[in-house]
């Protein structure tokens, strides 16, 4: 069905991509070659049996397709929407070599949406084991771990510091990419397995690390929510937001509907977003929907933008101006922001990741007028809990070090998601969570 028109979608926060109709889904599914050695499956971090569910869609058994996906992925409607498919399952689809790959993400989303519209059924649990597990953080890592552990029959307490579960799915990714009713339905299904969700609990403060010792196992899924700042002059002026703050005010607190909702947000007219990832695109597109003129400043070239190509395309369609090879050096203003001074960057030799190293061109600066600056330059692991937990090895960025199996250096503590990898993806967080949950069950000897 494609994307809604730009003029329509700038008026609201409703989903941009309308997904596939039944006819489109069947047609797309019928293109699949049902490979004996499917590359697509290798590209999926949770190894969904892609040909199997696609065959079911081709036969019109949409609910069967959804059940098949659920064996590997507890959040299919979410992953179908936000997975970077083009670099995962779809990149390795054989059809991509000659023509266009199968739109696997769209088909996954389609099956999950059909299933949700019919009504979801709560997965069965194994008999109770009597083991108690604390899962900390209710982002994709925590939610999936809680679900898997509950399925295995353990008693799961899921701690979340905010008043709504979901982590970045709730407070970060905007509803025009990931509708909140979709998130809620998938999370509610997992909670319905008997997970004891404790909101408003910041572990490390509400619950002490010592109290965690009372559980048979602990799984850390606290994410990478600590926003980085640049350390440039003017950064603490009013009108400078981290992308996390800006997106949280809108997605979690509904500041776009002030004063119906109480949380305020600046009245935006000219916004500069700094950064080039998905977070930057989300902030820029959110600001566009609030009526602002938006310029995005990125220090490398356009082809180096880390955001998904589709998001860059959507942002441009929606009128976000992208300024590449430039980096802020100073934010201007007396009381609040009036502009941002940037320096042009030249691209030098490639770094290990194959991206050019940007270096400032001395003296070549320019100023953009603006009243809001949104910094989307990255996030690190939230230190509140991790810094207090003893006996767990940490990496340089403050991340928790784990093996493939989700084990930390502490025998009872496991970890998954962004807290282990640094800011990554939903599906990697889920994959890690499944693995860690499996290791916990194995440790209990079931």
């Amino acid at each position: 069905m494609g994307d809604r028109s730009v003029s329509d979608r700038l008026k609201d926060f409703e989903e941009v991509d309308m997904g596939l109709s039944q006819e489109e889904a069947i047609e797309e599914a019928s293109r699949c070659l049902q490979c004996k050695k499917p590359g697509c499956v290798d590209g999926c971090p949770v190894n969904i049996d892609i040909p199997a569910f696609i065959a079911l869609i081709a036969n019109g058994d949409f609910i069967g397709a959804a059940s098949s996906i659920r064996e590997q992925n507890l959040l299919p409607a979410i992953c179908g929407r936000v997975c970077p498919q083009e670099t995962q399952c779809e990149e390795l689809c054989i059809l991509g070599k000659k023509e266009t790959p199968i739109r696997i993400g769209q088909l996954e989303r389609f099956a999950a949406d059909q299933e949700r519209n019919k009504g979801l059924t709560v997965p069965a649990r194994k008999p109770k084991t009597g083991k108690r597990v604390a899962v900390i953080g209710s982002g994709p890592a925590g939610i999936v771990a809680a679900g898997e552990l509950a399925k295995d029959g353990h008693d799961v307490v899921l701690f979340e510091s905010l008043h709504t579960p979901g982590g970045v799915l709730t407070y970060g990714i905007p509803s025009f990419r990931l509708p909140k009713d979709v998130v809620k339905a998938e999370i509610d299904l997992i909670l319905a397995m008997g997970v004891d969700l404790k909101l408003n609990h910041l572990v490390g403060r509400t619950v002490s690390p010592d109290e965690l010792e009372g559980f048979d196992a602990v799984l850390l899924g606290t994410g990478a929510g600590l926003p980085y700042f640049m350390g440039i002059p003017g950064e603490n002026l009013s009108g400078v937001y981290s992308a996390n703050e800006f997106l949280t005010r809108v997605n979690l607190m509904h500041a776009e509907r002030f004063p119906e909702y109480d949380t305020p947000i600046a009245r935006l007219s000219r916004v500069v977003v700094v950064g080039g990832g998905n977070v930057a695109m989300d902030a820029a597109r959110t600001a566009r929907r609030m009526g602002a003129k938006v310029t995005l400043v990125y220090r490398r070239r356009e082809e180096d933008l880390p955001a998904r190509a589709a998001e860059v395309h959507h942002a441009k369609e929606e009128g976000v101006e992208i300024f590449t090879c430039a980096n802020p050096v100073k934010i201007l203003g007396e009381q609040s922001v009036t502009g941002i001074e940037c320096i042009r960057m030249k691209m030098c030799q490639l770094d290990n990741g194959g991206r050019p190293v940007p270096e400032p061109v001395e003296g070549d600066t320019f100023t953009l007028d603006c009243d809001i600056v949104i910094l989307a330059i990255g996030q690190g692991p939230n230190p509140v809990l991790v810094s207090q937990i003893k006996g767990v090895e940490k990496g340089r960025a403050g991340n928790v070090v784990t093996g493939e199996d989700g084990r930390t250096s502490h025998p009872k503590i496991f970890a998954a998601g962004d807290v282990t990898t640094g800011a990554a993806t939903v599906i990697l967080a889920m994959g890690g969570a499944k693995q860690a949950a499996r290791s916990i069950t194995a440790m209990f000897g079931n």
Binding site: S161, N200, R205, G231, E235, N236, S238, F258, Y261, N382
Partner: protein, 279 residues
């Protein structure tokens, strides 16, 4: 849902509520705060934990805008949708010797818990309470009970010293050896009062109140400049070394949503009984 077990008015615009929140009371320590949300459309606002009794958290607050007015309007037995906490790093409690706690206005609310903790750590504790006039003075009896000595200042001289709490602090540190000072009140009062201890190099804490959203260290709304470095008050604070704080930056950031705040309050007052959110 969390039940407000008691709600009373302490003075013009100052209210005391007791919220049933065992998850908060279990580990709460001096100097920490909670974040509350009154209802589904509400904002998240930080309020200091001013006393703990069993499962109940006492909060003392001034009705200044939409959320605090709405909170004051909830009768005993009513509820709020969320209370998260305890949040923030607790006060640095240890044996200092003689400690002075200066509370200004509704900032007095924060002082009893800290005074008690300092007392228990073996300190001599002197309280100095400042208010606009005698009617705005809160927790006087409670502080008198905890402290070894309690001094009062009112702007109009209706009780105690006629003048500012800062005057009494200056006098005190001239008279005797003071080892640590807490100053908690309006930002301008903390800025001015902390100058009294600067030259003498007396360890002085202030409790900063920047605008917060999550209160868990994930947004940076609460960032303050302390010793030239950016700190997140909700996790690194709210208490910081007074002599290192950039108060002007804090005051400038606190004012950012003034227009919104006026609009929120007037909209609420207009709709108070018809919008269905406030029976």
């Amino acid at each position: 849902m969390y039940i407000i077990e008691k709600s009373l008015k302490l003075s013009e615009n100052v209210y005391e509520i007791w919220v049933n929140a065992p998850h908060v009371t279990r580990n709460a320590k001096a100097g920490q705060f909670v974040i509350i949300r009154t209802d589904e459309k509400g904002e998240r606002i930080p309020l200091t934990i001013s006393c703990i009794s069993g499962d109940l958290v006492r909060i003392i607050f001034m009705a200044v805008g939409k959320t605090t007015h709405a909170l004051a309007a909830i009768p005993a037995g009513g509820s709020i949708s969320d209370i998260a906490g305890p949040l923030g790093t607790p006060s640095e409690i240890k044996q200092y010797g003689t400690c002075v706690l200066v509370g200004g206005g509704v900032g007095i609310a924060s002082t009893p818990v800290i005074a008690k903790a300092l007392k228990e750590a073996g300190n001599r504790v002197i309280g100095i309470l400042g208010a606009r006039n005698a009617n705005f003075l809160i927790l006087e009896d409670e502080m008198a009970e905890i402290c070894d000595e309690l001094l009062i200042a009112t702007d109009d001289g209706s009780k105690g010293h006629h003048g500012f709490a800062a005057d009494l602090l200056k006098k005190k540190i001239d008279e005797e050896q003071v080892n640590a000072v807490w100053i908690i009140g309006p930002t301008i009062m903390m800025k001015v009062t902390s100058n009294a201890t600067r030259d003498k190099g007396i360890k002085t804490f202030v409790s900063l109140n920047p605008i917060m959203v999550d209160g868990t260290g994930m947004c940076g709304s609460c960032r303050c400049v302390v010793g030239g470095k950016t700190k997140f008050a909700c996790v690194d604070g709210p208490e910081f070394d007074a002599h290192e704080v950039d108060f002007d930056n804090l005051m400038q950031r606190q004012r950012y949503y003034m227009e919104h705040e006026k609009e929120a309050l007037s909209t609420w007052q207009e709709h108070q009984c018809t919008c269905g959110r406030h029976e």
